[in-house]
Subunit: 365 residues, 2 copies
């Protein structure tokens, strides 16, 4: 199978029939949970992981469970093993796009540590048991193709994995890099600086509240493109612009990941989010959901789960401005300064200011 | 939670009530498939993976998809990344034992390459959605404890992973080692030699055919002990006794893995299996199942899936005998010469001789 043009594919939308599937085939129906909505809640997870507590280490040498990637000193001087894994369920209906998103999401955890070279990828796949053989073959091939195309784009290769049968279609991977110490930005060096964020808001199923379908489709396509986008250039530039700290935004939403990042700083800090970049039309949808008594994805609380988000970076204000310019010239995609870091005397926190600025992001597709 | 004595735990059996669960709680009911029975069939998998075909590499530098572990040359001279992943479903009812089995099984793929030092482990966990919170907390804690105790035994640490909600309880891990070239035995160097196998037959649910429960329980306990056993000493000794080739026996059964190993030899070979070591009473059970029209686990065909099996090793007959002696002195567990390797003029194969010798293995517990 030849490599597929991503943007064309997104703009065309997924055609089940053209791919050999029935007209009413819907990939996302193969699971009751989508994307990062499948995560075990953060507080429960931390409790369950307490068995590891005696081992938990975050220092200059080593980063343990609980952050984007683990970093392990190797038997070989100067080298560190940087490694991450993620798996979840389909949240868009094109298996090819899901393959790209899955790979981008796994890689993103390496990129969040400033590591831009991935030495190996493993692919994790649970094949839904209620697929026919034909459906299975079509879906799995498309998924693998998407995963592989994203890996190619990242100059890495898939050289292993595991495939099992499962009630739901399960998609994931493992990314590993053996890096020199100097390649790694550990989430430890927070100081007073600006917060910068490349926004990639994404949403699950959208209920109808008298919304305009065409606008939803435009937003959806933008979301797909954002989720497939690699944070690789973002990672490379972390070094040049002396980022103090970095993480990628996924299942816990921007505020959840800001809290995680604040929690591991050497000195107590406050991450103050003053701006929420939001994909065009999404704020309107969220407002209508909230008006109808819903949670509106908890978007304005900063708790909207993202499957494959951008990086949340702390760096000096001056560097942040230059970083955004250079990243834009490489990726043709925007990034924003979304807040600031303040010193604190006691426990680190992250918060969103009341009346946070909602910055609407229009599609570049 | 303190470390748990494995053998005591196996001999006592799992007590749901003593662990805070209901009397009728059965872990293996949380999935419709057990252990390696969940694998996508080998021929289907190879077809689906054909997307990667242009990348498939097995040479002196690199080992790609399709074997126990992948081996990747790194940017750092002389070093290789050796990496493997596995995940599956519960096949015994004690979550602690399942944790140990899962970890042993993942590590086994490294050990099959002669790599005895694991630099990092990731833990993969799908938490069954229909568990109550109490059940979830008890089961996940026990599973993690078992996984961690096995990792401790292997002198490695768990420093990352992913946890999602899933209809079935899903258990797995990733093992990674950055090794010197000399630490790795690539599955390439087959020549005329004896086949050696450390047997760890295991079985799923056993239907009643007028069998003796006490004998089944003894066999079951032996199976648990075997599945929890690390192949680490077996891996270390591969180097000392100049193994030509090695793999670990899991989901495809001993013949399936022998076929895989034969397939990647430089020169055409035939692996001839002359002896099947079988856990005591299992041959009787299989015979009765076959007499009743069943498949008898396909045990005598060499296709009985194992979740966490032993190593299948090719080495000279003289060395094999010494290897078995030394391994026994380290592990207090047996190993056997089970066949031989013959040269062939065309495609490599593996086969079991007609009237294969069934060697019954009695429990050492």
């Amino acid at each position: 199978m030849a490599s597929i043009n991503l943007i064309e594919r997104i703009l065309e939308g997924f055609d089940p029939v053209g791919n050999g599937l029935d007209n009413d085939f819907v990939l996302t129906k193969l699971t009751a949970m989508k994307g990062c909505g499948c995560k075990v809640p953060r507080d429960v997870l931390l409790q369950l992981l307490e068995t590891f507590k005696t081992d938990l280490v975050i220092n200059n040498e080593e980063v343990d469970i609980g952050l984007d990637s683990c970093v392990i000193p190797l038997r070989h001087p100067g080298l560190r093993l940087v490694q991450t894994t993620d798996f979840f369920y389909p949240l868009v209906d094109d298996p090819y796009i899901m393959g790209r998103i899955t790979c981008a999401n796994v890689l993103s955890d390496l990129y969040a540590m400033g590591v831009s070279e991935c030495d190996n990828m493993l692919m994790l796949l649970g094949v839904a048991v209620d697929l026919t053989e034909t459906q299975r073959d079509i879906i799995v091939r498309l998924f693998i193709q998407g995963f592989k195309d994203a890996a190619d784009e990242a100059d890495t290769k898939i050289r292993g994995g595991q495939t099992v049968r499962c009630p739901w279609l399960l998609l994931g991977g493992v990314a590993t890099s053996v890096a020199n110490e100097s390649e790694i930005i550990k989430p430890l060096e927070g100081s007073r600086c600006k917060l910068l964020r490349m926004d990639k808001e994404k949403y699950g199923k959208i209920e109808e509240f008298g919304l305009v379908s065409a606008k939803i489709m435009t937003a959806f396509k933008q979301v797909c493109e954002q989720m497939c986008r690699l944070n690789r250039n973002a990672a490379k530039l972390l070094h040049k612009y002396e980022a103090h700290s970095s993480t990628d935004v996924t299942g816990f939403g921007i505020l959840g990941h800001a809290e995680n990042l604040a929690r591991v700083q050497k000195q107590p800090v406050e991450f103050i989010i003053e701006k929420l970049p939001i994909i065009e039309y999404m704020d309107e949808i969220a407002d209508k959901m909230i008006a109808a008594g819903g949670e509106g994805f908890r978007l304005f609380e900063g708790r909207s789960a993202e499957t494959s988000g951008g990086l949340l970076i702390a760096m000096s204000e001056k560097n942040a401005k230059e970083y955004i310019q250079e990243l834009h010239s490489l990726d043709r995609a925007p990034a924003w300064i979304i807040g600031r870091v303040a010193a604190k005397t006691n426990d680190s926190v992250a918060r969103i200011i009341p009346n946070v600025l909602r910055q609407s992001i229009s599609s570049s597709l």
